[in-house]
Amino acid sequence: MKKTTKSNAWLYCLPAFILIGVIVLFPILYTGYISFTNMNLYHWQDFTFVGADNYIRALGKVDSGFLSALATTLLWTGVNMVLDVAIAYLLAVGLNTEGLRAKRIYKTLLVFPWAMPAYVSILVWRVGMFNTEFGLLNRLLTTLGFDKMDFLSKNTPAFLSCMALNLWMSLPYMIVMIDGGLQSIDRSMYESAILDGAGPWQKNWYITIPSLKKIMAPIVIMTTFTMFKQFDILYLLTMQKGAVSGSTLQTIITYAHQNAFVSNNYGLSSAVSMVIFVIIIAFSLWTNRAAKAERSEQ
């Protein structure tokens, strides 16, 4: 009886494992293999092994662009996360003010950007907000008497534009999550704090934020990964085929994609992909460990 269940278990998993093996696992291994070759447009079939050359080129040479892309990615992730959590926290606390009767309406309206398909939102912003002719921002600028501005043609404005869009898209999720966390805090803690003479700042600092920390940690980590891996915004806004906007901003993911599908440096692109994979694994192992350590402390 026991033996049949055991072989059964693998049988149940087999279709899923075959699918994942072909679509997920094999391409990763194959990417690793390509990363040690000089495969490119001219060496499509007759590529040769070049050892760690691609890795040396990506990590060792400053002009390969990978290191600056990595710096951009880290800056992007850091700034976006801080703003995302801080703004969402303020809005969620505001929504939970006693006596705010329209809370549910606000919450429903605020969720819309989250519900929209992401690529539609990005294209809509490209056309509706940032576009030099029809974009709402430029119409606003011209009505106010300023010159038109191409938001996506230079690196700094492009970075800020992408950031604004990213926050617009990701804040609703964070607000809803923090709002959920706020509901779970024991009300009696506030009551006794008020008896002790605590003001609103002290309540936030000593009760709300420490209580939220534990609930929010997994969500914040997940969101950090999403922001780190963000590709669509920068790609669709500034580097669409035939509509390159002029900024040279690259994150590591767009860098890998451009090298594979635009400049056809498959070897280099694959090496970069493997480096990114290692970074992600290291980061997730580190967060897992930190979470475990915190749990064993309590």
Binding site: T5, K6, N8, A9, W10, Y12, C13, P15, A16, I20, V22, I23, V24, P27, I28, Y30, T31, G94, L95, T97, G99, L100, A102, T108, L110, A115, M116, P117, A118, Y119, V120, V124, V127, G128, M129, E133, F134, L136, W168, M177, G180, I215, P218, I219, M222, F231, D232, K241, G242, A243, I253, A256, H257, F261, S269, S273, F277, I280, I281, S284
Partner: protein, 277 residues
């Protein structure tokens, strides 16, 4: 009395503030909605002169291959859902119910694989599919989508299977039902909420995917809605913003409807999983 007065003013300001924030959140969507109703080739809403019209919606549905794209999206979504759910329901059931060697390692390994951004292995898949002659075919895309959602499905549903008490199954076993019967008659109905939500997430994923859809589909008539919409705004010659806007609204409506009907479950499901992890 004085303090309630102050509170009222505070609330008034807070309400004003939130009305502004909501406007900020909705402006891009409202603007595109207005664009989609405007007449003319993109000069749009210049004061009162522009009249509102449904012309763009008529044009996008009848004159562009919109229905074809819709059809492709439906085929891909349903195909992916069947393949992804078929494989991941049984696997997640096994992971939840059976004890076998390597189970925890396998679960962790799946999570690790899922951390690899699929854009990065796109080229490898492209080469593989060229070899297997799966480029430019719906089957190929269905495989890719199902493969990438399979891990998510397994993890998502395993958690729910874990919460179904095993005693129910044991009782059924004593009553003499076989394994297959057990799954179809007892487990599937019990796990219905989790299965439905996972399936809906798969549907939304396919509906919203544009990158693989445009890279692996080489002819315009095999595009999905996402690919078609991308094409509409990328193609300089046929570029008409009102038309694009109408298409964007049409594509988003079903997703908005689905999102708001399962939102409650999504939020609670996500937080519950988060706290556990």
């Amino acid at each position: 009395m004085k303090s309630t007065g102050r509170k009222k003013i505070q609330l008034l300001f807070l309400n004003l503030f939130f009305i502004c924030v909501c406007l900020l959140a909705l402006v891009p969507i409202l603007y595109v909605f207005l664009l989609s109703l405007s007449s003319g080739g993109g000069a749009l809403i210049t004061g009162a002169s522009g009249t509102l019209t449904l012309e763009n919606y008529r044009k996008i549905i009848l004159e562009e291959p919109f229905l074809r794209w819709l059809m492709n999206s439906v085929v891909l979504s349903v195909g992916t859902m069947l393949l992804a759910m078929g494989t991941s329901v049984s696997a997640s059931y096994a992971f939840s119910r059976f004890r076998f060697r390597g189970k925890n390692t396998a679960m962790q390994l799946l999570l690790l694989l899922n951390a690899f951004p699929q854009i990065l292995s796109m080229f490898a898949i492209f080469r593989l599919f060229r070899l297997m002659n799966l480029l430019d075919s719906h089957a190929g895309l269905i495989f890719i989508y199902a493969g990438s959602m399979c891990i998510f499905g397994i993890w998502n549903m395993k958690g729910y299977f874990d919460s179904i008490p095993i005693e129910i199954e044991e009782a059924a076993k004593i009553d003499g039902s076989g394994n297959l019967q057990l799954i179809l008659r007892i487990i599937m109905p019990l796990a219905r909420p989790a299965i439905i939500v996972t399936a809906v997430m798969v549907l939304i994923f396919v509906w919203n995917e544009y990158l693989f859809a445009t890279t692996f589909m080489l002819r315009e008539e095999s595009y999905t809605l996402a690919g078609g919409l991308y094409q509409l705004q990328a193609n300089d010659y046929s570029r008409s913003w009102p038309l694009f806007s109408a298409a964007a609204i049409l594509v988003s409506v079903p997703i908005l409807v689905i999102f708001f009907s399962i939102q409650k479950y999504m939020v609670s499901g996500l937080t519950a999983g988060g706290v556990k992890g």
